[in-house]
Amino acid sequence: MQEFVSGIEEAVSVTEIAVSSRPDMFREEGCNWTDEADPETKLFPFPGLTWLKVAAAFALLAVTGAGGYLAGNRTAVSDLSSSTGPASTSLLSNSTPGPWAQYRIASGGIETSIPTPSTRQQP
């Protein structure tokens, strides 16, 4: 742990890198992230460090990379359900058959089915 903390101290002092091992703290603390303020201006004291800069986006970026988009990203479901609750899963449903890819929520992530000539319908 000591090595870990000293590593962070060195990194922060030299590069101003901000890290957070508890990115969900913002919701718990009721920070208002809907205003225009740059979250990087919010500073939090942290024992052993001068300052630790944190940002709300870190949480989900860390889990999904740039995730959250459908573009073939099968990890998006965990992002969507964790960020907006179960209701968000239905936002992906598309029950209308057509020429386009269909998306369905499954236990392992988003399932994509690609239309075949026999199932395809002209719009």
């Binding site: 962070i8 030299v14 990379g65």
Partner: protein
């Protein structure tokens, strides 16, 4: 480290977005008589039949590689604004090309890289790319950090190899030096004058830039600068005459356009960058005045945000069509195109039938007269044309099995749309131009097959 010429392309898209998506690979001149086409990272200018007219020369130094990322035509069709990535294999070569302050910072950061890398791995474990490892850290300077990583590796490879012992794939990439993402990268915006063949640098920076957009008066270039959050950028405007930079907006998606010479429109996150709710905002600015921000609309966008300003000044964007709050079991309708009308401040839905558009509606491009929109998606290679006033959807290219679109269509004029299409007989990807009435012509006839091979992604035989 070695860098192979023209081996990397679309890195901007790759760095901003997870996975492959349709992106711009060709841009028609305003008159439709020429096209700027990027083939394996190299920019070429073709005529309307696909014949190469010229290959613009970009000044550089021996040993660097170049990848054209985006092109914007001037309204007279005589010059271009280009965004390219320059790659260098050694700091000795690269240093003189980087802005002085950035080069100094990269050298400062290089000393801290072993500690920073250890910290990132301690926080999030190992990963197969430098960006993924540093993605665990919150930094305002991810691109300087990435360049510093390679400088640190160049100076002392053994230390970083040791730190990366749990990531054999990344170690192998570094040792082979021939991976697309390995090396020092510089973003450069140039003004290319076709008549004289001259290229003038407008901006050089290590910071990842996104799509340059010329202002309506042609005097300024709007672009996004990555500032740390992977999917968000800060918007800046560069004056072509003197290179001065004006900040326009912070933390917006790379979905932006000029409304007029003093107003920029962009899609912005309501809360964090992963929120499905996004806002269409206008950013107005004038010399010696503070800029003002106005929220014009709120949208539900679980795909890549995109917007275009049409000739009638309306703003075209896509959104899901749900009404909130919604019960958990509710299946909301699919995605649709919308227009924001600035004069009446109203939103109009393009009246497409339910299911006629892809759920993943992040890839569209409007015709020059703003009457039609070409739509593709990333999971099939189908292409559709939507009539904006009636909502009628014509599927002009059927989806082929195991094919995924990786190229945004582009309108040559108000009647002709060009796009990538798989020729099932030859297995080759063709660049074609379609017309409502008339034959679809192949523009890439005679091109080497590999020129357009990546324009549509084919499922490999052993992929599920």
């Amino acid at each position: 480290m070695k860098i192979y010429r023209h081996t990397f392309c679309c890195l901007v898209t790759a760095w901003l977005v997870t996975g492959c998506v349709p992106s711009e690979r060709f841009w028609w001149s305003p008159g439709g008589d020429k096209a700027a086409v990027v083939v394996k990272g190299q920019l070429r200018i073709t005529d309307s039949t696909g014949k190469t007219l010229t290959i613009p020369e970009f000044p550089g130094i021996d040993g660097e590689s170049n990848s054209a990322e985006y092109v914007e035509w001037a309204s007279n069709g005589k010059s271009l604004i280009t965004h390219r990535l320059r790659g260098f294999s050694s700091w000795d070569i690269a240093k003189s090309e980087f802005p002085e302050d950035e080069a100094r910072r990269i050298e400062e950061l290089a000393d801290a890289i072993p500690a920073v890398t250890r910290t990132a791995i301690a926080l999030g474990g190992v990963a197969d790319s430098v960006d993924a490892i540093f993605g665990r850290l919150r930094t305002k300077e991810p691109d300087l950090l990435r360049n510093a990583f390679y400088l640190s590796y160049e100076r002392d490879p053994e230390t970083l190899r040791d730190i990366l012992s749990g990531s054999p794939k990344l170690r192998a990439k570094l040792e082979s030096g021939n991976d697309d993402s390995i090396g020092y990268f510089l973003n450069q915006i140039d003004v290319v004058r076709l008549e004289t063949g001259t290229t003038t640098p407008l901006l050089k920076t290590a910071t990842l830039l996104t799509r340059p957009a010329l202002s309506p008066d042609g005097n300024r270039v709007l672009m996004g600068r990555r500032h740390g959050e992977k999917t968000l950028v800060d918007l800046v405007s560069i004056t072509i005459a003197d290179g001065s930079e004006t900040p326009i907006a912070k933390r917006v998606f790379p979905a932006y356009a000029w409304q007029d010479d003093h107003t920029v429109l962009a899609l912005s996150p309501v809360a964090d960058s992963e929120s499905l709710l996004k806002q269409l905002k206008s950013f107005s600015f004038a010399r010696d005045h503070e800029s003002t921000t106005e929220i014009l609309a709120t949208a539900l966008i679980p795909f890549l945000p995109r917007l275009e300003v049409l000739p009638d000044r309306s703003v075209l964007f896509s959104s899901q069509t749900g009404v909130l709050p919604a019960e958990a079991s509710t299946t909301l309708p699919g995605s649709a195109l919308f227009r924001y009308l600035p004069d009446t401040r109203k939103l109009l839905r393009v009246p497409t039938p339910e299911g006629a558009l892809p759920m993943n509606l992040g890839f569209f491009t409007a015709s020059p007269d703003g009457t039609r929109v070409a739509v593709v998606e990333s999971d099939t290679d189908a292409v559709a044309v939507v009539d904006i006033s009636s909502g009628k959807v014509d599927l002009i290219s059927l989806p082929r099995p195991n094919s995924k679109c990786r190229t945004l269509p582009g309108w040559r004029n108000t009647e002709e749309l060009s796009f990538a299409r798989l020729n099932e007989a030859t297995g080759e990807v063709e660049w074609v131009v379609w017309k409502q009435r008339g034959e679809t012509r192949v523009l890439s006839k005679g091109w080497a097959a590999e020129s357009t091979a990546g324009w549509i992604e084919r499922k490999k035989p052993n992929q599920n």
